[in-house]
């Protein structure tokens, strides 16, 4: 049995939005995660981190490349095989908890076990109780539906559900995104303990550095590429604007201001505004126009 939980080989994901319009969300990702590791993938929104997580979680398929989870190449599996695969080997934790609203805490945790077909109703229930106790959910909450629980409780129940079928890996997408700092920290600590003492593999994607830090290995994702060290441009945002860009922007702005004066005159003709307020507003706009014209003359 290999010791590798997740292996991505040159994974490329291209989304076709419309004929001729394509977005390359992942640009050749190579990643290896060993069993029992806790890794984080950090990146801003739109960097491709959720796409990457969905591909690892077999919810989405790569356009090119291979995906090997728990030693099994899942790239060419059918939809039905993937459902079974997810059921038995992958646990999910979402930002918005994604509990089934009509089921109570206990039933939510039982659901993956029932779907797996491995447990009877009674066995699933017994195991669900143990899992809820493990993640620290109080017994009085067992029969509560998600709307009757706090955010922290919901995420704990979701964690118990993720653990239900002893998955090879647990994938977390911004798990603290909907929690306050203290509650988020408690949930993350819980995952850390489960990782250390149960040797459960965790992969967390986040844009929150303090969540990412909990991992024993950090990756950075930016524009569909993955890095082991923080890429420079990830830390600072280039706000300098070149002169040409500025010139074109202000020229457009000048046109808009001149049009505003024209509209103002029209309103005066119609009698919508008084002469005084016309003068007042016109003066303000004229000041802005002067300022822009000075810059534009200088730039020439």
């Amino acid at each position: 049995m290999s010791n590798i939980a997740v292996e991505l080989k040159n994974v490329i994901k291209i989304y076709k939005l419309a004929p001729g319009i394509e977005i390359e969300a992942l640009k050749g990702i190579n990643l290896k995660v060993n069993k029992g590791e806790y890794i984080s993938i950090m990146g801003p929104s739109g960097s491709g981190k959720t796409t990457l997580l969905n591909i690892i979680g077999t919810m989405d398929k790569p356009t090119f490349g291979r995906v090997i989870i728990d030693g099994i190449d899942v790239t060419d599996m059918s939809e039905k095989e993937l459902s079974d695969f997810r059921c038995n080997r992958i646990g999910y934790l979402f930002q918005f908890f994604n509990l089934i609203s009509t089921l109570n805490a206990l039933e939510n945790v039982m659901l993956p076990m029932i779907l797996s077909g491995k447990y009877t109703e009674k066995e699933a229930q017994e195991r669900a109780i143990k899992l809820l106790q493990l993640v620290g959910v109080e017994e009085k909450i067992f029969k509560n539906r998600p709307v009757q629980m706090s955010g922290g409780e919901r995420q704990r129940v979701a964690l118990a559900r993720a653990l239900a079928n002893e998955p090879a890996i647990i994938l977390m997408d911004e798990p603290t995104g909907s929690l306050d700092t203290a509650t988020g920290a408690r949930v993350m600590k819980l995952t850390k303990v489960l990782n250390e003492y149960l040797n459960q593999t965790f992969i967390v994607v986040t844009h929150n550095p303090s969540v990412a830090m909990i991992a024993n290995k950090m990756f950075y994702i930016r524009d569909g590429r993955i890095f082991e060290n923080p890429p420079k441009e990830l830390l600072s945002f280039d706000i300098a604007m070149d002169e040409k860009e500025k010139y074109s922007l202000l020229s457009s702005q000048l046109k808009i201001l001149k049009h505003s004066i024209y509209l103002l005159e029209e309103r005066l003709k119609r009698g919508d505004i008084s002469y005084n307020s016309y003068n007042e507003t016109k003066k303000k706009i004229a000041e802005q126009i002067d300022k822009i014209e000075i810059f534009l003359k200088g730039a020439k």
Binding site: E79, C87, N98, T102, I114, K118, N165
Partner: protein, 388 residues
Amino acid sequence: MSLIAQLRIIRHFLKLSERDIVIRKGRAILTILGITIGIATLVSLMSVGLGMRQQVEEQLNELLGAGMMLQGSSTADVPEIILENVKSINYVSDAYPVIIMIGQIKTGACVFLGVPAEQIKNYLTGLQILEGRGFYPEEENVIVIQKMVSERLNLHPGDFMTIDIENVGKRTFKIVGVFDVGTVVVAGQIGIIATNIKTAQKVLGREGYVSSIIVRVSDRSKVDYIEKILKEMFPNARITKQEEILKRINSIMDIINGVLIAIASISLLVAGLSIMNTIMMVVRERTREIGTLRAIGAKRWHVLAIFLSEAGILSLLGGIFGCILGIIGVYFIREFIQQLIRIQLLIVISPTILAYGIIIAITIGLLAGFQPSWKGANIRPIEALRYE
């Protein structure tokens, strides 16, 4: 996966659907109401149709037994004398003459009937004398009138009444009794006025002749044999067997039933649309849950099963309530018809109709729920997860 495991999954899904129905009570009640009304319409109209058919059959049976009617070619051209010949045929239990004429009274058309005094109860099934008496065998120029005629013209025993008889002209008779019948066969809204057969013959100027002879047969299996003998004896006569009349009435009943079912179908269509709409809304509301379910390993058919079970539960409840309301509805329809045209409908609550009601409800529910459920089951999991 074993069958038991699959059943366990379905049971879990039923719980899911059941909760969704309980949580979103208002919407569920409206949807169920839609189906309830549809099924109630179907059940009550089908029951009315069945009741009507049975009632007609029963009355026809009382009238002719397993018998037949022998007629000539015009109003009264069957010689009365053949009656004895007919009676002498084996297996003929009884035979009597009838003359049927159309008359005009102040309120409109009426049936003017000539029948032997001792046979009037056989001919007008369910006859009851309400006022006065019936006419005696040899009594002439006296009539009994139906209750509705008596009420509308305010005529009672002892009064005289003028009838304008077709092809004959105006004649005046003395009323001796008022009766009513529980029948829909002989006359619906036109009233019946009956007199002794002798009077009818004299009015027509056709003494010794009648319009038809009713032949009652004691043994059902000998009907064809008797028909054959009658045909040999009277080659020019028209012979109509009870079963032929029944067949004709049944074909009319089929048309009536068809119309009733068509009416019910419209409400069933509306019921189907209401289920479709509800399931569409449920799928939309729970799109994210579909994504979650797929993420934790649910297959497409699982998702399909969740929504279809919701459609199934809603329509089953609608079907049950519809049957109950339908039964109540039948009594209302009977009351309504009685007020309107003074006919007492027979009510038949058949278990078959109720079973149909529930089966049709579930079928409509599943058919209408299928499209949105299928759509829900086929949303790509990641798109479902992203759905706001």
